[in-house]
Amino acid sequence: MEIWEAFLANFHAWRPWAGALLCVLGAVLVVIGTVGVVRFPDFYTRMHAASVTDTSGATSLLLGMGLMSPDLVTVFKLAAIWVFLFLTGPTATHAIANAAHVAGMQPVTGARARGDVGEREGD
């Protein structure tokens, strides 16, 4: 209990640091997602890499911003942004994926996806 109280008492002291740390973590996650987009072989697999960016990357960045924000109204706005991202993100991803599927784009499957990295098919 004592530890918890000390933890809360120093909340304003560690808040900016924790926020900054989470923002850096978010930026790193976005970079990792980008690395995946470059490395993966075809459209569909690249989409999976991009989804790291808009789930954990965005969550971590918004949490960090929330910890660094000056008042509760800002925190609420960030929370609203987060909820909308999590509703619209998959919808947009599905729209793009569905468009590719309907257009007849064939995914590279199985072991074939591991070889020939960097060589794209058909485009």
Binding site: I32, F40, T45, M47, A49, S51, V52, T55, T93, A113
Partner: protein, 169 residues
């Protein structure tokens, strides 16, 4: 529309009203008369448009299910973190070990809301994306075939049905 329709219609409208007012207040955070009256006008216009469009029903205002949805949301967050870890590892591995596959997934969800929630949950989880929904079958693309083997989505399907339709879990 059944007998209870009109009653529930008013209920949903009231719920939407409360949600919009709360949203405006939380977004602006200012209690000046001018801003409050602008908020009242905005809420009134939104309610009018929603009524005109006839979209005020249990799908657009599913606030009766909020407690269940929030429970589902927390469970989904856990799944997303686990799946994120797998995809992050796949992105950074020196040797690419991905094994992409297309699979058909059958769902027990009946309503459009439940199917949409299920399909969006699959898409939201990194490593799996829903390509199309036909009837009760979903076409899913997965980064690892083993993530999408038969039964892999059973748990999520069951939980979505329970959260969106109230089916016994």
């Amino acid at each position: 529309m059944n007998k209870g329709g009109a009653f529930f219609g008013v209920g949903y409208l009231l719920g939407l009203f409360v949600a919009l007012v709360a949203f405006w207040l939380a977004m602006s955070g200012l209690m000046k008369p001018l801003l409050l009256s602008l908020g009242a006008v905005s809420v009134a216009i939104t309610l009018f448009l929603a009524m005109r469009l006839d979209v005020v029903d249990k799908e657009s205002a599913p606030y009766l299910r909020w407690p269940v949805f929030i429970g589902y949301w927390f469970w989904l967050m856990g799944e997303i973190i686990k799946a994120n870890w797998r995809v992050i590892r796949a992105c950074l591995r020196a040797d690419l070990d991905i094994n992409p596959a297309l699979v058909k997934v059958k769902t027990r969800c009946k309503s459009d809301l439940a199917k949409t929630t299920f399909a969006n949950s699959i898409t939201l989880t990194p490593g799996t994306v829903t390509l199309s929904v036909e009837g009760d079958k979903l076409l899913v693309h997965a980064l690892y075939e083993q993530d999408a083997e038969p039964g892999a989505f059973d748990d999520m399907d069951r939980r979505t049905a329970a959260a969106a339709e109230g089916a016994p879990a």
